[in-house]
């Protein structure tokens, strides 16, 4: 009997770990595109937040989950373009332009909530992605129930990680994008369109972060809540550095953070909620200060090529 309970708990924690991994994983993988193209990924938080909000709005407007998801991705890209234009065209420091995206999303989403829904702080509830739980999957012991409590976006995310890795390290485009990120002058000298690759990297970060944001709202609660991302975009920045700007590294890092996040549920009953909610931030601080030794960002990060 005891074993049964423990098993159920383990399964629930692991299932919860995966659910908390997905948004981080998508954002961090997006961030690796941006960083590999030599643009700092500090705007992930804002792109995610935009994705959360606009995916709900898309579904609210059209009634379709998938169109809502598309809204989330496109809004992530649009917000990322602010970062891209400021940093790549106007040569604004990437940290500043990234923060501008974050602050804009943080300011605009509550404003739009008020304007569109007349509600302050949260949106109306729409449909959300349901779990993927066919019978055959439930019958597989252990892994079955864990995977069964995931939705479609989870499987999309895993596929995207693999595709992203292949893209970055096996294709011509990926090699060239990495060259731009490592040494834009060298890339320019062999005739590559440096700005184009940078724009691409940033747009990919916007698309994936937007998708990650959509997972939080459309993939779970079916509604948007003010400041819904709660710093996950920043945590994704750290995960990305932790994972050496590699999608598989991002996977490992996200799972690590997702696990700590999932542990919260256990402590919730014992400790005051504020202290429990501090965990991911404390873990992030510890990782930044002690866990990033020996890592190296692409050498050309933040460098521009004169026109």
């Amino acid at each position: 009997m005891m074993i049964d309970v423990d098993m159920a708990l383990i399964i629930s924690i692991l299932a919860s770990t995966l659910r908390r991994t997905v948004p981080l994983l998508l954002a961090a993988t997006g961030g690796s595109f941006s960083m590999r193209a030599g643009v700092i990924d500090l705007g992930l938080e804002g792109m995610m937040l935009a994705g959360s909000f606009f995916s709900i709005m898309g579904t609210w407007l059209t009634g379709s989950l998938w169109i809502g998801l598309l809204f989330g991705v496109v809004s992530g890209v649009l917000f990322s373009m602010l970062h891209a234009v400021m940093h790549i065209n106007y040569k604004v420091n990437g940290s500043i332009s990234g923060m501008a995206v974050n602050l804009l999303a943080a300011a605009m989403t509550p404003l739009l909530l008020t304007i569109v829904y007349g509600l302050s702080g949260k949106s109306e509830i729409v449909e959300s992605f349901s779990n993927f739980d066919p019978d055959w999957l439930m019958n597989i012991p252990f892994i079955g129930p864990i995977l069964a409590s995931q939705n479609a976006i989870f499987f999309i995310a895993i596929a995207l990680v693999i595709i992203s890795w292949i893209f970055m390290f096996k294709t011509t485009f990926g090699l060239r994008m990495r060259m731009v990120g490592e040494n834009p002058h060298a890339a320019s000298a062999v005739g590559l369109n440096v700005k184009g690759y940078k724009y691409f990297g940033v747009a990919m970060s916007g698309a994936l972060a937007g998708l990650g944001g959509a997972y939080l709202s459309l993939g779970q609660m079916g509604m948007f809540v003010k400041d819904m991302t709660a710093g996950r975009g920043y945590i994704a920045v750290v995960i990305n550095a932790f994972g050496r700007y590699n999608p598989f590294g991002a996977l490992a890092g996200s799972a690590f953070f997702g696990f700590f996040d999932a542990l919260q549920t256990i402590f919730q009953s014992v400790l005051p909620s504020q202290l429990v909610m501090m965990t991911p931030y404390v873990v992030t601080i510890l990782v930044i200060v002690f866990g990033l030794k020996g890592g190296r960002a692409p050498a050309g990060t933040g460098k521009h090529v004169e026109d």
């Binding site: 294709t171 011509t172 090699l175 490592e182």
Partner: protein, 507 residues
């Protein structure tokens, strides 16, 4: 057979005319040396040919047909490639990746690494380059990196290869190797242009010499076998210069700076290994060596910028240790190797740069730490006049000055604070002949006033001309002490690359 012709090229930048009506031709299978001082227009001319910039007026013909390159890719497509002075390589990539990136073999968007490695291997063996295609470029020596650059060009099937200051960072042996490679390329029918200001190399290598001065074409038909370096330098500068003239020290005094047992470890490697030497008052001690053999670490140790594993430094018998502030206070001045990044704050005014490092002295601030703005202004004006710094006022920002005048600000600051000893690194890197003469003259004056000068320079000619005594550094050790002029360049070159035993045998 003429391959490129440029007619009446004029290029105007805001404020300056970089090229005035310059005509240029290049023949198939020749090595053309494009000679000129900094700012003479040679780089601009090549940038036009390479499509990096467009001429204000004038025409470019390639094999007789007019062309209008907008981007370097256009030039690359026609087989015109450039080896830049600052290598365009990705240190984190392998040799193969560096060579193929931008024109990769493969299909459906995937890179065919197998094919790439094969092509690169073939190229390496065809030209006997002796490089492993799978090493990361960050692990290669400077000479090997240059060979990767040349491979990049060959991989792109270049017919015309432009090399910008290719020997600036090479050892004498590496220069010889490069020349062998270039001659081999010429034999294969390639046309080569080298942009340079080094006269000896021009004479040794080129088939034809073209000289630019102040944006104008002086000569384009000089036969290097018929001219001397002095004649070339006169054509280049427009007047007689003699940078080779020595001014031996007249009054060498007691030992001022004594360094013993200096060891610096970095990443577990001994970058400076048990180095000891002394510099006397009124003497210039030169340190020759190929860059990257511990000079940077040596300079940083002697100026307090780096923690050392062991060192005893005595200045006039007094032991000095601690931070760079302590070293400066004690009277060890420093002219850093890269003036804009290490010696100046370009956003700040001349007068505030002239006190940098000495801003805590009594003539700059009072005991409560308040700056004496009037005194700083006066001091600025005095030094501006004394060191001939060309600027509208001492309130002008450093970024508004030319490179030569920026260097004068650094020199003025270091030389005017009565240094007992001074560490000078690469004082004339990137400055033109005029500024070079001026700086050399100032150094000799300072020495004759009794300062102990340690000169570290990668320019062998500079070290030989200025030094009263010479040390050669290789892999963090002093491998030889000699007097300037005693050893030939070849012998010096051997010492600089670790050929100690051979030379010692001969001595």
């Amino acid at each position: 057979m003429e391959i490129v012709r440029m007619e009446k090229i004029t290029k105007v930048y805001p404020g300056t005319v970089a090229l005035k009506n310059v005509n240029f031709t290049l023949n198939e299978g020749e090595i053309l040396s494009l000679l000129g001082e900094n700012g003479a227009g040679k780089s601009t001319l090549m940038k036009i040919l390479y499509g990096m910039t467009e001429p204000t007026s004038g025409d470019v013909y390639y094999r007789g047909e007019p062309i209008d390159f907008r981007r370097p890719v256009d030039a690359i497509e026609k087989g015109i490639c450039m080896v830049h002075q600052h290598f365009m390589l990705v240190p984190a990539f392998t040799v193969t990746e560096n060579i193929i990136a931008g024109s990769e073999p493969g299909k459906n968007g995937f890179v065919d690494m197998k094919e790439a490695r094969k092509v690169v291997k073939d190229l390496i063996s065809q030209f006997k380059f002796n490089i492993d295609p799978d090493t990361k470029v960050e692990n290669l020596s400077v000479g090997e990196q240059q060979r990767v650059e040349i491979l990049k060009v060959l991989y792109r099937k270049a017919d015309i290869i432009i090399l910008d200051e290719p020997t600036a960072v090479l050892t004498p042996q590496e220069v010889d190797d490069l020349f062998i490679i270039l001659r081999r390329l010429r034999a294969e029918g390639k046309s080569i242009i080298i942009i340079t200001h080094k006269l000896k190399e021009t004479i040794a290598l080129a088939d034809r010499v073209m000289i630019l001065r102040d944006g104008e074409l002086i000569r384009d038909d000089v036969d290097p076998s018929e001219v001397s370096t002095n004649e070339l330098s006169e054509m280049m500068v427009g007047r007689e210069v003699d940078l080779q003239e020595r001014h031996p020290a007249k009054n060498i005094g007691e030992v001022a700076l004594r360094v013993s047992g200096l060891t610096v470890e970095e990443d577990g490697k001994k970058k400076v290994n048990n180095v000891s030497f002394e510099v006397k008052a009124g003497e210039i001690l030169g340190i020759a060596g190929v860059e990257g053999n511990g000079q940077t670490q040596l300079i940083e140790a002697l100026t307090g910028l780096r923690r050392v594993n062991s060192m005893e430094l005595l200045l006039n018998g007094e032991k000095i240790s601690g931070t760079s502030n302590k070293f400066l206070r004690a009277g060890i001045a420093h002219v850093p190797e890269d003036r804009t990044s290490m010696g100046l704050v370009k956003e700040m005014s001349i007068k505030y740069n002239l006190i940098l490092g000495y801003h805590r002295e009594d003539d700059c601030c009072d005991s409560r730490g308040i700056l004496k703005r009037k005194d700083i202004e006066e001091k600025g004006n005095r030094l501006k006049t004394q060191f001939l710094i060309k600027a509208p006022s001492v309130d002008a920002k450093i970024e508004e000055l030319s490179g030569g005048n920026q260097q004068k600000v650094v020199i003025a600051r270091a030389f005017s604070h009565d240094p007992k000893a001074i560490i000078i690194a690469h004082p004339t890197r990137g400055v033109d002949v005029g500024a070079m003469e001026y700086i050399h003259q100032q150094m000799i004056e300072l020495r004759d006033k009794g300062a102990a000068i340690l000169l570290i320079s990668a320019d062998l000619d500079e070290v030989k001309t200025l030094s009263d005594r010479l040390l050669v550094m290789f892999e963090g050790e002093i491998v030889s002490e000699t007097m300037p002029g005693k050893l030939s360049d070849i012998e010096m070159g051997l010492l600089m690359t670790g050929g100690r035993s051979m030379i010692e045998g001969e001595l």
